[in-house]
Amino acid sequence: MSEPKIIRFKDIARAGDEPLVTLTRDDLIEIPQLGDAPDVQSPQARWLERYDFSLDGFSDFDLPKPKTKEEEERLVNGFLRGLEKLFDPQSNWPFVKIFRLSLDYCVRCQTCSEACHTYIGSGRQEIYRPTYRSEVLRRIYQKYFTPSGKLLGSFVGADVEVNAKTVWRLLELSYRCNVCRRCAQVCPVGVDNALLAREIRKLFSQEMGIAPGELLKKGTRQHLKAGSSTGMTPAAFKDLVEFIEDDIFAKTGKKIKMPIDQKGADVLLIHNAGEFMAWPENPAAFAILFDAAGISWTLSSEAQGYDGVNYGAWFDDVELARVALRQISIAKELGVKKIVVGECGHAHKALCVLADRVLPGDLSLDQIPRESCLPLLWEIVKSGAVKFDPNKNDFPVTLHDSCNVVRLMGIVSPQREIVKAICKQPVREMTPNGVWNYCCGGGSGFAIMNSLNFDQWRKNVSERMKIKQVLDVFNDVLDPSINKYVIAACSNCKGAMRDGIDHYGLWDKFHITYGGLVDLMVNAMADLPQPYIEFGKQG
């Protein structure tokens, strides 16, 4: 491993297209079980002229580089205007307090850096420290918005120049953090560097309309227009549900009608719509379990009501509010007692946590409570209404904790109690686990960001620590004759696991696969004629 390059904060303003850092396989942390991990692919030559790769040689932004002085000025002015608004309680009332405190109180101890899977996974590259991005922002603020910084500049540490390169590199850098908030958890003074990363994204989106295409144009905007970020219309949703009902019958012999738009049901179950498309066995498993347990529930076929995602959670408060308001009003119209969020971490974060911060008046908890599915699933197991036979799940299982469900919301034991009840072998705990888990590497939109060569950064850097943990936890049973299952009760985590398993060849080499928790529960149901999980067939 080569020594990481020393990079100063003011280097972010450096002229030219040369990246501040260039990563090769040898820079990244080693994964001993793999021998030679795949090498990092460079961007295609034809992209280099058109797009900006000057942070680290990776990008998701297929936006043309500024060509004229005017275009560069527009970028700089937009950025400074947006930054000012982040400090304005009128513009940024939901987050201004923690934003200011996080900028004011860092004691530069670097505890957060050692907690960051991306920093460590990258071989400790300076620019991926949680504090690098924050300190750049802090110095810009000092230089342009404080009297001492304006007057004394670098004498008081206000030495980061804002030019078009600074702005662009900072935009890229705000998308090198999974917003898993492990850094915030360990900070001795409560600084939230992940929130600062999201605030920078927010500045770009809300002030300048700049966000990854997958998150804004094909994300929240498509969600609001078509009904789902997948583009799924209400008609397509109904077609998929019918198909899934047929599939349930073919696999289990159970004739189950998935309830749609049932007024007065107790529970409105909202899935990530990606589940219907990519992992239909997951919403099917929920239907099988809820049916067997006799729960009064419904899905919604209203646009936005069948897609619980809310990509605004990653980059934009206004987009977040638009989507959340629709979801809440759909639940109110149905007259349900509560919303239960399926296996999607960001939907948990958006509906159960952020929505209250952004829309407190409209969303007081006495109107529509919102809950995670995990405690309800544990209730089902505890109630005895469904018979499980742990012998059907006789293979090594580990549990990946979704940051948004576990660290953010503190839901730790229900999923573990469930696994204890439905699996023959004790759950293998990764190190660390629970609220101290590492992110899957796909968090905050990365799992679906595939423009240009961003996937190379995700696969090689942000997913690396999780892949290492998975291999370590199965180290004594790596033999491919033994099937192994990583529980990832979150669509985004599943997307990242699928990506990492494919990139590092974990199925081919070790027979390690992944899937939801409900899938594993249904696999253990005593009255099912055949296994529900098909090893080797996970998409």
């Binding site: 992209w47 997948t230 583009g231 990606g274 990519a278 679906i448």
Partner: protein, 106 residues
């Protein structure tokens, strides 16, 4: 967005070669995309069966069908679809059938 030379006109595509405007799609364009973007010289009747199926589903529902449904409705196994379109059902077949790149958490 890059452009491809198509019969003397400039056809807008994204960096992965998906056409920007699905309304422009027709059989001739499918052949062109297959050859230039996917390196498939001859489209067999099975290629066309899949292409027409995807194109119709997209016209009806505004979205690509889920893979399992594709397999069931066409009678093709996933492995065979990869033989027909080596980049796979989403990146290969959907691209040739003029569908936009899949979006959302899929």
């Amino acid at each position: 967005m890059p452009f491809l030379d198509y019969k003397g006109t400039q056809l807008e595509v994204d960096e992965d070669g998906f056409i920007a405007d699905p309304a422009l799609w027709n059989e001739d364009l499918a052949k062109f995309i297959a050859e230039t973007q996917e390196d498939i010289k001859d489209l067999t009747p099975d290629h066309w069966k899949l292409i027409y199926y995807l194109s119709k589903y997209y016209k009806d529902f505004g979205i690509a069908p889920m893979i399992r449904k594709v397999c069931k409705d066409t009678g093709f196994e996933l492995k065979y679809i990869y033989e027909l379109f080596p980049s796979g059902p989403a990146k290969g077949a959907c691209k040739v059938a003029g569908l936009p790149k899949p979006t959302g958490c899929v």
